[in-house]
Symmetry: C2
Subunit: 427 residues, 2 copies
């Protein structure tokens, strides 16, 4: 669609008003209707695999012509496996319990009224994301199930893929008797559309940005509506004095090397002074064998160099860096207090774990480390909506208000107060 820049604000306003109107329809939709829409879309995705790939080919050609690197083109590609996983993902969402309508804490008050809280949809969710077209399906599916309308603004490089996917979702909504405008894709690649989308609380109740840090920083800075987000995943594992050494090795290995790129991968290892000489040589060997570059403080380097394991000097910057790569910073700390202080100074409030045998220190770590996920004797890699049993996740939040940690269906809802009376008035 060709839209002159001067019309962007009016175009987004129209999309926003349609979304707000549609959200009233989705908010009162029956569970069965929402599930029918999700399952019909899943079927349509499988049926239209060939035409989805044809739309995707246009995007891929443009991306290659624009000189995007192979990793970018890879993320943009709709393979058979990606198409099947989108369809299967919708079926999983359909199988989840409907979060809407749950009534919590309903209690009689001395005045005779009964007060409780009802879980209801948030309203309109704006999703701003980069090149992965499967986000179109995953995000729309979660929003539909939670009774919300969605406005999707994907990367401009995925515009044809996203429009093709959105057409199938709208077909699914229509077939289930739900308002088509419950899912809309912004049909202009003009960046001004993002600015309009994130600054109008009358159209959009919350923005979920998915993508690189610079995109998320820009949205957090400019938004006038609430944003569910995380910027960094500088995750720590702290190996306490007296920890089970085999357990510590297993967790520290898994937290770093199971995958390097996720936000819940460990970036800094903290080791108590009393156990460092025992665990660091064995851990250093594991990392060295897997090609992980080590950057340590003086004590770490002393221990590792004595065993012939390479470890460069960690700078102040290392403690603040999310490598997303086979690099690990290591620091020897006096004990729990210094570990907690290090995490408070350098962490990103995402996910931090302690390996310990000591109950009191375990519980202090859990209570005092101010992160979205805090773990005892488990790998940070578990910080994930599926692993936590949420069924799916729309993202991870490191903010403290509303949804914190992996955000599933409940994070896309709101709790309002309901009062059931019998004619009571206030005296």
């Amino acid at each position: 669609m060709e839209i002159r820049s001067i019309d962007i604000e009016a175009y987004v306003a129209d999309v926003g008003r349609r979304a707000r109107a549609a959200s009233r329809g989705t908010a009162r939709a029956a569970t069965a209707a929402k599930n029918r829409a999700l399952l019909a879309t899943a079927a349509a995705i499988r049926r239209e695999a060939a035409s989805l790939k044809a739309a995707n080919v246009k995007d891929l050609a443009a991306a290659r012509a624009a000189g995007h690197d192979p990793a970018f083109v890879d993320r943009l590609t709709l393979t058979d496996a990606v198409i099947e996983s989108m369809a299967a993902g919708l079926e999983q969402i359909a199988a989840l319990p409907d979060p809407v309508g749950e009534l919590l804490n309903l209690r009689f008050r001395p005045t005779g009224i009964q007060v409780g809280q009802m879980r209801v949809p948030l309203g309109v969710i704006g999703i701003v994301y980069e090149s992965r077209p499967n986000v179109t399906i995953d995000a729309a599916g979660l929003c539909i199930k939670a009774g919300n309308a969605t406005i999707l603004r994907g990367g401009s490089e995925a515009i044809h893929s996203n429009q093709a996917l959105a057409a199938l979702i709208r077909e699914g909504l229509r077939g289930a008797g739900l308002p088509e405008d419950a899912v809309q894709v912004i049909e202009t690649t003009d960046r001004a559309a993002v600015g309009a989308l994130i600054t109008h609380p009358e159209w959009v109740d919350v923005i979920v940005p998915r993508g690189g840090k610079s995109l998320i920083e820009r949205i957090a800075r400019e938004a006038k509506v609430p944003v569910i987000k995380h910027l960094d995943g500088i995750c720590h594992v702290y190996i306490d004095d007296g920890a089970d050494v085999d357990m510590a090795l297993r967790i520290a290995d898994n937290a770093k090397t199971q995958r390097y790129s996720p936000c819940n991968t460990m970036e800094t290892l903290l080791v108590a002074h009393g156990i460092a000489a025992e665990v660091l040589p064995r851990l250093g060997r594991i990392y060295a064998d897997k090609g992980v570059e080590l950057r340590g403080d003086a004590r770490t380097r002393e221990i590792l160099s004595a065993c012939g394991i390479a470890c460069v000097e960690a700078t102040e910057e290392d403690w603040r860096t999310e490598y997303l790569a086979p690099i690990l910073s290591i620091r020897v700390v006096a004990g729990l207090d210094e570990a907690i202080a290090h995490i408070a100074t350098y962490g990103s409030q995402h996910t931090d774990a302690i390996v310990t045998r000591d109950h009191a220190r375990a519980m202090r770590f859990v209570r005092e480390v101010d992160s979205a996920s805090v773990m005892i004797n488990a790998s940070t890699r578990f910080a994930d909506g599926f692993e936590y049993g949420l069924g799916a996740e729309i993202g991870i939040s490191t903010d403290k208000l509303h949804a914190r940690g992996p955000v599933g269906l409940e994070g896309l809802t709101s709790l309002k107060y309901v009062v059931f009376g019998h004619g009571e008035v206030r005296s």
Copy 2:
């Protein structure tokens, strides 16, 4: 304290850093220590009543000299009754259960880890308020109980009163072994301090503005940290076809006339067409007897004028106005759908009530009216933290994320994920 304008940012930064440091101490404080601080402050308030009034006299003299109106001076005055209610309020907060440390939904996952959510303090709460000095005590008390540090920025006209009150709170904190900096009062009346306070997420986790609409609008517009707020309370009562007429009269009377100034007072009455001719004459008489000015649509005026009850024509503006005064707008609607549509168009998502005998329509109203509090057969005046059983409230939120409706201790906390493992790693 004299502070040059150029130093304001540095001054607020220092306050912010102290608050952040103190919040680590309050977050791990024992329930008994927090209660000791609250009870000691209550005792100190009673003991120092004379010196509090002496400090207050300075503020009152300055306010009169500045030409503030009697209502303003009234809100600023620390009477014996206000002093006693501050002390009693702290004792009530001490008696509430500690919200911190609660563990919810702890469940084993197939991997062997146990996942749950722990309630923890938010961190640092900024309170920006106008002339009532009792907010200093109420807000600080709630923040202490929930394990938070607080930065208080009261109206410049209350500076002496607020400083005297803050000194007593800090005495109470010190005596209980808690960090004094857990409660700080901004000691400059320069408005730039508010700007600094609301734009630094590294110091402040959430801002709660208490005061007039223009203050709250300014803060919501300029804040870079989350704000818990409500702007308007345009509350509706809808009298449904077939409602119990006596109940409808009782609720519509109480919702409007029990007090005119609270935010949960009804501002617009909606009446179903089929019952209007029966209820409006009787209701009109009640309002007329109490001196409530009525502004109605054509059908309302037709019914009321036939009984000789004065009712001016309501304008579009009336439907959007929070009168906070003995004025009521009235509209006759076709039925439930039109009532819900009116509330969606003109309401402020605060508190709305239906009076009905019909179960299906009652439940549709509760589900579809997108307000912080939705009521069946009860007066809107019940929308209040004490009436809901929260024990106390720091304010009312009409936002949909995090705390919605009256905000008590739980609204000043956050839920983080905790994982209890036994050495599990991700495969």
